[in-house]
């Protein structure tokens, strides 16, 4: 069943080549998709279009059989930077999507506590974002995106600024949580290994178009060993060549 469909999506600024150029893309329920591309290829714009933060010039987006014209309450978004509110505690930040619209209930509190437990930040719930490390801040941002149990999650290079080991830990957390909740994910990155490791499907974007799509045939759950297996590395190499040559 198709969950997210982008149909002939085009977006651009007058007088220049379109940033997103006729993109055709579908994601099925519960799948994890990565969109890979060099910076400036239009991947962030595509993600914002999909999330309803931008309006396409042409084409349409459907999420769960509804046309997207504005941000959907079903979707969560994780930005490049953690975008935590410095004046709120970790717990308050996680609860922000709820507290903006109503008073958090006992159940919301429980869910926030559960998410913090999962990302290993229970002990820090009353601290402030500036007192946390970069990795911890990204974790809080992830928990905040998940508090309302979104069926669709958009992530825009959320781990780009982290060191390799922390990034791997966060990738594990993300996979675990998404698997538990059967979340459909569209993940943007420029890191080839990250894309292959995380996703069920990898797509490569260049100059506003999707130039390559392939299913990743790796066992689940992912293990550390996978990262060093021959299939994984061959896959990465293929993607690397596609990205540098600009055509498959």
């Amino acid at each position: 069943m198709e969950f997210l469909t982008m149909n002939n999506l085009t977006y651009g600024y007058p007088g220049t080549a379109p940033v997103v150029d006729g993109v055709q893309f579908t994601i099925k329920k519960g799948e994890f998709h990565c969109l890979l591309g060099k910076s400036g290829c239009g991947k962030t714009t595509l993600l914002k279009l999909a999330a309803g933060l931008l309006q396409p010039d042409q084409g349409s987006i459907r999420l769960n059989n509804k046309t997207v014209t504005e941000p959907s309450p079903e979707a969560g978004f994780v930005f490049q930077s953690p975008t935590l509110l410095e004046w709120k505690t970790v717990l308050e930040n996680v609860l922000l999507p709820v507290s903006l619209h109503r008073k958090p209930t006992e159940k919301d509190q429980e869910r926030a506590a559960m998410l913090l437990e999962m990302i290993g930040l229970s002990a820090h719930q009353n601290r402030y974002p500036t007192q946390l490390s970069g990795g911890q801040q990204s974790r809080v941002a992830l928990a905040r995106a998940l508090i309302q149990k979104p069926s669709m999650l958009f992530l825009d290079e959320p781990f780009a600024a982290l060191d390799a080991i922390t990034r791997e830990e966060l990738q594990e957390d993300l996979l675990k949580i998404c698997h538990l909740q059967n979340t459909t994910v569209l993940f943007i990155t420029h890191d080839i290994a990250e894309a292959v490791y995380l996703s069920d499907h990898v797509a490569v974007m260049e100059k506003g178009r999707i130039i390559y799509q392939e299913k990743v045939e790796l066992e689940k759950p992912r293990t550390l060993k996978i990262r060093y297996g021959s299939y994984f590395n061959r896959f990465c190499l293929t993607l690397r060549q596609i990205m540098s040559e600009g055509n498959p």
Binding site: K48, A51, L53, E70, P71, P73, A75, G76, F77, F79, Q80, S81, T83, L85, E86, W87, L96, P97, L100, H101, Y128, P129, T130, Q131
Partner: protein, 251 residues
Amino acid sequence: MNQIRLYSLVLFIFIIGFWEIIAGNMSELVLPAPTVIFLTLLEGLIDGYFTAHIIRTMLEIVLGLLLGSFLGFAAGIVMGESEFLRKLLSPYVIASQAVPKLALAPLFILWFGFGMTSKVVITALICFFPLLENTVSSIQHVDKQKLELFRMLKANRWQTLIHLKIPAGMPGILAGLRVAVVLAVVGAVVGEFIGGSEGLGALIVASQGMMDTPLMFASLILLTIIGMILYQLVYFVEKRWEKPYMKEKNK
């Protein structure tokens, strides 16, 4: 850190001592000695001569500050939020800021009389602009990704303002308040200079007439103390606001 405090104290004693020596060779009318000023101050405080003046000036400063900064803050929010109003009103704001506001004091006395109202209005007018300017620019320069986050969370304009723009702009807004506090003292005193029989500013004018220079210095010291207390108060509020989340940065 403690050494700096010690040096600071030594410097203070040195200045006072130097002043005392110089004043010894001069007429009290020109430069009264610190001891004389201090005695005048103490005497005035004990027999309650200053009390009414202090209360009056304080009241003018506080009322003017509250009124001016509240209006400045509110106008700043409105102008920060609405591009139309910002563009419409900014020429007037710049023009009215270019007018030396103290030069308007006589006009306000004419309009609002010799009582407290005219001084409060002058003070409020002076406090209005720092708050307006800082609020407008602070709430406009909020992190773009955070604004997108709030759009994603389906926050309406009001919620975005209350939960994001104002708290995020708070350091800038409080910095404006700090400027306003210092200016408020100036506003109240100048108002009293021009017309008034009560208040520390009026007392300075009166002491000039009476050729009572020690009294003038005593009033100046009182004004300085009031200004410093208010400044410290705002500084304290600012630190309290920043404390929880700036802790790490200060280390």
